[in-house]
Symmetry: C2
Subunit: 203 residues, 2 copies
DNA sequence: CAAATATACTGAACACTGTTCAGTATATTT
DNA sequence: AAATATACTGAACAGTGTTCAGTATATTTG
């Protein structure tokens, strides 16, 4: 019988409806300022309904994070295409930083917001791992071609990620205000710093 | 008349009472999970009383931040004492990272938590600037002695701070779980990475 | 010293939050 | 047509930051 299939379809459609409304509001107002009631209002359902499709607000977050990790990977694949692995590494760094500057609320919810890290939620881990692998693969290539001072992939990944994340998150929290720059200057300086940093670790 | 002076004294004592209770609870349970009512209960006053001494919860945060920036500066002065500016730079980085790992809730509230950045609140800006200057002064020394590949103090400060902050904050948000390390390994790896990074930018 | 005033504090109330769940209305199966 | 299963509601619960009329105490004034 096709009824149960239609029901299944309706269920995923409903999840998508909730998800798209939630995502839109997260991007506009941020995760914290978006309430379940607001989301419910937006899709013209009662608050309780959302809990029939998502266990709690965190589960909405996890799904958005998974999607966002995927988007970041897409950005990497689009922008970090150099065949020179060191150049590619620079492209990865710049793409990461620009992604954060261009999507502040998304970046916030991907990497800064406090929420119990979920272990299950396959899309989350899968996309997260794949995105991270894009970086480590590039580093492996750099190291195997003996292009970097670094010999350890993990340490390289840690450095590049920490540097990039540090730049984005300090800027998002207005901590770079101490350096008195316009928004454009921040963008330029961050890009130049990524470039300079990778030049420094290049042999 | 000594009455107004006693009143003044009582007022600062009351602020201190609130502050010390708030700080204790922030460190134990985190800023977000500490409520004004909890603080009021702890000092056996009504919630409304706290608002007679602090405009809102953010103002409590700003004061704690100011104190914490001061503490970080103290840690710098204690641990980053090398006369060799590059060595000193390494000490600053390691001290920063350890400070974050040792005081996770404090670090969270200093640099990660989302709150409208306050412009006034002198202790805040003063301590923040002084702590930042400790880093820039060291970098100026490094650069003036031509010890680094870097020639721009601002870019150096940005790199060192971003790298250190990135490491601490990614770890605090469990994002380094992807690298599968024990807590001790994380500590070692972060320290080694700081060292390795500064070695890389050293001439 | 008593009355008037100033100060300190209270705690109920407001408008929110995430979450739950008995009850209802609709759809499906018997 | 009756019984059952599903989907949804919206009031209720316990919590949040914040405000403010009212009270109780301390100080000043006549």
């Amino acid at each position: 019988m096709g009824i149960s299939e239609r029901k299944e379809r309706e269920k995923t459609e409903m999840k998508q409806l909730i998800m798209s409304a939630a995502l839109k509001m997260f991007l506009e107002d941020g995760y914290a300022k978006t309430s379940i009631r607001n989301i419910a209002d937006a899709i013209e359902y009662s608050p309780g309904t959302i809990y029939l499709y998502y266990k709690d607000k965190d589960e909405l977050l996890y799904e958005v994070q998974g999607l966002a990790y995927g988007e970041l990977l897409t950005a990497f694949k689009k922008n970090a295409t150099s065949t020179n692995p060191v150049e590619k590494l620079v492209q990865i760094g710049k793409t990461y930083v620009n992604f954060g500057l261009d999507n502040p609320e998304l970046y916030d919810l991907m990497f800064i917001i406090r929420a119990p890290m979920n272990v299950d939620e396959t899309i989350h881990k899968d996309n997260g791992d794949q995105t991270f692998d894009f970086l480590t693969d590039c580093l492996k290539e750099c190291i195997s071609q003996n292009l970097l001072r670094l010999k350890d992939v993990n340490m390289g990944a840690l450095q590049v990620w920490s540097m990039s994340h540090g730049m984005v998150s300090l800027n998002l929290r207005c901590r770079l205000k101490i350096m008195e720059m316009t928004e454009d200057q921040v963008r330029e300086t961050l890009a130049a710093s990524i470039e300079n940093y990778i030049a420094s670790i290049t042999l």
